[in-house]
Amino acid sequence: MEKPIGVRTGGFNFLVRRWVFPFKRTSGTWAFVLNRWSGVLLAIYLYVHLGILTSVAFNPDAYNQFLGIARSPLGLAFDVGLILLLLYHGLNGLRIIYATLAGKIEQHRVQFWLVVAITLLVTLYSAVLIFSYE
């Protein structure tokens, strides 16, 4: 039987396995793992974003040159990926708060798939807008 989310058992190896190989597990574990990975990636991006903004303050020409890369299809795809991470992490966070405060944790499976559906739909819409601007 699967261990409840948030219960720390089995030490480091168990945690790494659960983080890296969440396969054959419930949607609850997937929600947890995706939330963690998206959070870590967004935390890394915070520092990348501050680095990019540093060039606006100190070297605007370098920033404008960088925009050439950012406006390329690959750069725009990166932006779409970023919106995907932001939406999933944000909506899943709201789901956790709602489920905890409203006592609706048993319905986590439906809530998770709702979060995934909204994330994918809004990301798709954002992708259409982003690629139409450049």
Partner: protein
């Protein structure tokens, strides 16, 4: 030591509440940031446009609030992730101190950047 356990649980609850409150706030701020900086502008802004954008006091205040809240939320999240790795109490304490210093430095740097960019607009 039941008293220590209670204090530890209280700290964890406080961290959870902090993460939840900053998360909700951040959700709203990120949507506003994306809308004003990218979608309303219909694309990525060049350096001059970013400077002009931050010249608005409302956008400037939003960006300053954004960098403070996002840093708090991100580093509290990293702390939670690292705390899951069966660390000793002493390591957890050192980690909390280290992440607090990193957070203050990051948010401070972000606020200084916003001020410098705004000063360019006012010059």
């Amino acid at each position: 030591m039941p008293q220590l356990e209670t204090k530890k649980q209280a700290r964890q609850s406080l961290a959870w509440i902090g993460q939840a409150v900053s998360g909700v706030l951040l959700f709203v701020i990120v949507l506003l940031h994306l809308y004003f900086q990218h979608f309303a502008a219909q694309g990525l802004l060049d350096a001059g446009e970013v400077v002009a954008h931050v010249s608005s006091p409302i956008i400037f205040a939003l960006e300053v609030l954004f960098v403070i809240v996002v840093t708090y939320h991100a580093l509290l999240g990293i702390r939670a992730v690292l705390f899951d790795l069966s660390l000793s109490e002493a390591t957890r304490r050192n980690l909390s101190v280290g992440l607090t210093i990193l957070g203050v430095a990051t948010a401070g740097y972000g606020v200084i950047l916003a001020i410098l960019i705004r000063l360019q607009a006012l010059a």
